[in-house]
């Protein structure tokens, strides 16, 4: 063996450190929520908002309209005065409930794509409870309708959750397929056995007046359902982020094996979170009936379930961001309706925008790391 001497480097004066051995290598700073400075926490929403605004302006300009004033007109339509705000808010009430419902399930690792179906089922349940039971004391009747909707939505979702928990049936696909099955079944009910004979289209009978929320601001469709929504959002936030049950569900979602090994019943958490999620979606559907339509019709919930899914994804299943995003989304939809009335920009603008925004949000981390890598490579090249 050649006698290459050891290249001992123990003593390196430049690396003398006051830290103990083990701490010499700097460890990455904890990125806990509490530790993150406000500026860093605002960077993501700001980035997304700017990206969205630029996209909106470009799209409007591409239609041959003056971008700023057109967008301004739209925003004025959405937020210009208290009545506009109320109208914008009223539009979103069911979406608030459905979105936090979907978030709740995502948080426990259950991708409930079946929100749409559960909304339909809830709407149908509420419409039946409102039309075939009563009239009775309004508060009681409303409670009954919401309860019915919650139970029906919850049972459907719980069933799908059970299939996943017990038999390992992928919930993404099963909830997706359940949408079509439930919507078609509801359409069957509304066009055949439960149809209102006085109407020419597939609708159920109108609910009793006692099963309708009262308007709290005339001509804005803003009803006292607002308070129900506020209570539900607050309760869901507590359940998901603060309570022990929420802890169990979150652990089940993030680290199912950890949950199982530390004594959390993963099966129970999955089924229960799905049930709660379905119940919330069901209530969202019920609000479509009791705070707006007064009856079920075959396409009452078109797209709300998918909106809720998108919002849950973009808000990473956190209830507070979800509520903020629903608000932003409502404003976007409302503004798009406003823009459509003053220009020929199609209101699909809002769908195009929300897609762009979500991709921008999802790609943000990647964009920044690509950027850093580029910078490093550049520095590398310069260094040589």
């Amino acid at each position: 063996m050649n006698t290459q001497t050891a290249t001992a480097q123990q003593a390196d004066p430049q690396r003398k450190s006051h830290l103990p051995e083990g701490d010499r290598r700097r460890r990455p700073k904890a990125s806990g929520r509490a530790g993150m400075p406000l500026a860093r926490r605002l960077i993501q929403p700001a980035f997304i908002l700017v990206a969205g605004l630029i996209m909106a302006l470009v799209l409007i300009a591409a239609q041959g309209y003056e971008p700023f004033s057109t967008l301004g007109a739209g925003l004025d339509y959405a937020l210009g005065n208290p009545a506009s705000i109320a109208r914008t808010l009223a539009w979103g009430l069911p979406l608030f409930v459905a979105s936090i419902g979907v978030c709740l399930a995502y948080r426990s690792g259950m991708f409930n794509i079946g929100a749409e179906g559960q909304i339909y089922a809830g709407a149908m349940a509420a419409a039946l409870a409102g039309a075939y039971i009563g009239p009775m004391l309004s508060g009681l009747h409303l409670l009954l309708c919401l309860l019915f909707a919650a139970v029906v939505g919850g049972l459907i979702a719980a069933g799908l959750g059970w299939l996943r928990a017990a038999w390992g049936v992928d919930e993404v696909l099963s909830t997706l397929l359940s949408n079509y099955i439930i919507m078609l079944f509801c359409a069957y009910l509304a066009t055949s056995p439960l149809r209102d004979p006085a109407r020419q289209s597939g609708t159920t009978k109108e609910v009793f007046d006692t099963a309708m929320f009262g308007e709290i601001m005339p001509r804005t469709q803003l009803t006292s359902a607002l308070f129900v929504v506020i209570v539900l959002c607050a309760a869901t936030w507590w359940l998901s982020e603060r309570s022990v049950t929420g802890y169990r569900w979150r652990m089940t979602g993030e680290s199912p094996d950890f949950a199982a090994a530390s004594g959390i019943s993963v099966k129970k958490a999955r089924i229960a979170s799905m049930a709660t999620s379905g119940a919330l979606c069901g209530i969202g559907g019920a609000l479509l009936v009791t705070a707006s339509q007064g009856r079920f019709w075959t396409e009452i919930g078109t797209g709300i379930g998918w909106d809720a899914v998108l919002i849950a994804l973009i808000s990473r299943a956190r209830p507070v961001p979800a509520i903020i995003w629903v608000s932003v989304y409502c404003i976007m939809r409302s503004a798009a309706r406003g823009i459509e009335q003053v220009s020929t920009v199609p209101s699909e603008l809002s769908l195009v925008l929300i897609s762009g925004i979500i991709i921008a949000a999802a790609a943000r981390a990647g964009i920044f790391s690509q950027f850093t890598a580029l910078k490093q490579r550049f520095a590398h090249v310069k260094g040589h």
Binding site: M1, N2, T3, Q4, T5, A6, T7, A8, Q9, Q10, D12, E21, G22, D23, R24, R25, R26, R27, P28, K29, A30, S31, G32, R33, A34, G35, W238, L239, R242, S243, V244, T245, G246, Y247, R248, R250, M251, E254, S255, D257, F258, A260, A261, S262, G263, I264, S265
Partner: protein, 517 residues
């Protein structure tokens, strides 16, 4: 195998001043390393010392921030693994790089498939693979599905891949971690033969015994820096340990503990399970653990240890048999009920089962406490002030190095993550604790600390089931050792009266004595 001084051949490989950082983590700093033809050069160091990183740089998987690589005296740039392969470097990775669903032949030829126009020429592939397979004594049908092979064969397959590519420099990153002592011996014979044929080998291992058995030279890394490069014959184990840890007082001997008591805490009888992922099925396991006793369960991985651990804690269900804890039958109980009765569990896969990897430190610590909220209590606040304060206490009591209780678990190093698990499980004051690979991937300092905690628990009459692939660990901690082989208990030994060699024999099933206890 050692080259002669008068020939003074030039090194086939020289790494000079290699530095590599991952964000703020400096994995390698100004590392020098060289390799001569026909040499087996061992690379040792604690966890996270930067061994794997250095080898990945050599294999073109990472680009170093600074430093140069010379092959046969010429400086080269290795931008991707293909470059390294073309320069005759082959790597057997710490984790198998075999596609389980592929056939043996497909795995050997992956990335260098013979054939024209993107078509796979099976005939030529078989022919080309035959040579390397024969050299390693691998008599296999090339169309066997790789996932169905045992680990030793998969290990040989990895080397076959390297030889198929015509490598002259072979890197082996912890190749023996999953092998029995006998299989390890076989591997060493093979390595020496390859070296004699002119290949150069870089060998990474945590087991100094093995390093001294094969290596011509030993390079020690600490905290990403080269500490020393010395011919193996000039060194002994304690010198290497001192170089690795920077300390000379490391205890490598038995842990002093109190003697076990008489009453049986855990009793397992006739326990059988179905086959369990990559693990053998249990076949009527019987054993007892007394208060304050540590029973070590030895065996090559995949012989039913995981199945045993999971069945004990209740995340897997047995087919037959009975588990009793202090007289209470646990067999039909859920995990939470078992834990309520005083059973604790340190799982083998820390990231998956031990901690919520994306959750906070507090969320990892509090699992036990929060388990006790039942029914409507589930709606109560999970982390009131008192619990947060408790979390901070635990962090200091167990010396968990973290920025705070709200730090995410994945920002902690392996040893500190393991401390979270140990803190949580020991604070439950269990009657019995099941430890599965409690110090895997944990370095010497942390290991000492954790062993002390285990000793404390036994002093409180806690019964300990210690499942470990590390025989040294078992011999240092246990009172009795049970050996598992193919889902059965094949031997029972008293720790102080047995030896590594004897246990190694049991582990291969060579001395099957029938069921113990």
């Amino acid at each position: 195998m050692s080259s002669n001084d008068q020939a003074a051949p030039s090194p086939v490989l020289e790494l000079q001043g290699i530095t590599k950082t991952f964000g703020p983590v400096v994995a390698n700093e100004n590392v020098n390393f060289d390799l001569y033809p026909g040499e087996i050069h061992a690379l040792v160091g604690e966890n996270g010392a930067g061994k794997t990183t250095l080898m990945r740089i050599l294999f073109g998987m990472y680009r170093p921030n600074a430093g140069s690589i010379r092959l046969g005296g010429r400086e080269v740039e290795l931008k991707k693994p293909m470059d390294a392969i073309e320069h005759g470097i082959g790597m057997v990775h710490q984790h198998f790089m075999l596609v389980p669903s592929f056939s043996v032949l497909e795995n050997i030829t992956l990335g260098a498939e013979p054939g024209a126009g993107g078509l796979f020429d099976r005939g030529r592939a078989e022919e080309a693979a035959r040579g390397p397979m024969e050299r390693l004594g691998l008599a296999l049908d090339p169309s066997t599905v790789t996932g169905s092979l045992n680990v030793a064969t998969q290990q040989k397959l990895e080397i076959t891949k390297v030889l198929y590519r015509g490598a002259k420099i072979i890197i082996l990153d912890e190749p023996t971690a999953v092998l029995t002592p006998q299989e390890t011996e076989e591997l060493f014979v093979l390595l020496k033969k390859l070296a004699a044929d002119g290949s150069s080998i870089i060998f990474i291992s945590h087991k100094l015994r093995e390093v001294f058995a094969v290596a011509d030279r030993i390079t020690v890394l600490r905290n990403g820096r080269t500490v020393s490069t010395t011919p193996a014959r000039d060194l002994d184990a304690s010198a290497v340990v001192a170089a690795m840890t920077g300390r000379s007082d490391v205890n490598l001997g038995r842990i002093t503990r109190n003697a076990p008591e008489d009453d049986v805490v855990l009793s397992v009888s006739g326990l059988s399970t179905a086959k369990f992922e990559h693990d053998a099925a249990l076949d009527s396991i019987n054993f007892e653990v007394r208060a304050g006793e540590v029973v070590g369960i030895a065996g090559v991985e995949g012989n039913g240890q995981s199945a045993l651990a999971e069945t004990l804690i209740g995340t897997a269900a047995p087919l037959a048999g009975k588990i009793e804890l202090a007289g209470t039958d646990l067999t039909r109980l859920a995990v939470s009920a078992r834990r309520d009765l005083g059973l604790s569990y340190v799982p083998e896969d820390r990231h998956r089962e031990g901690i919520p990897i994306n959750g906070s430190v507090l969320e990892g610590l509090a699992a036990g406490t929060l388990r006790r909220h039942r029914g409507w209590n589930g709606l109560a606040n999970a982390f009131p002030r008192a619990l947060q304060a408790w979390g901070t206490d635990m962090i200091s009591k167990y010396a968990i190095r973290t920025s705070g209780r709200n730090a995410k678990c994945h920002t902690l190093s392996g040893g500190n993550q393991q401390k979270i698990v140990m803190a949580r499980e020991l604070e439950e004051q269990p009657k019995c604790i099941v430890l599965a690979q409690p110090t895997r991937g944990v370095d010497l300092g942390a290991i000492e600390f954790l062993y002390d905690r285990i000793a404390e628990a036994t002093a409180r009459s806690c019964a300990v089931v210690l499942i470990s692939a590390d025989l040294d660990e078992i011999l240092r901690l246990s009172d009795r050792v049970l050996v598992m082989y193919r889902g059965r208990m094949v031997a029972e030994e008293t720790a102080t009266e047995t030896s590594r060699e004897e246990l190694g024999m049991h582990m291969t099933g060579a001395k099957a004595l029938g069921t113990a206890a």
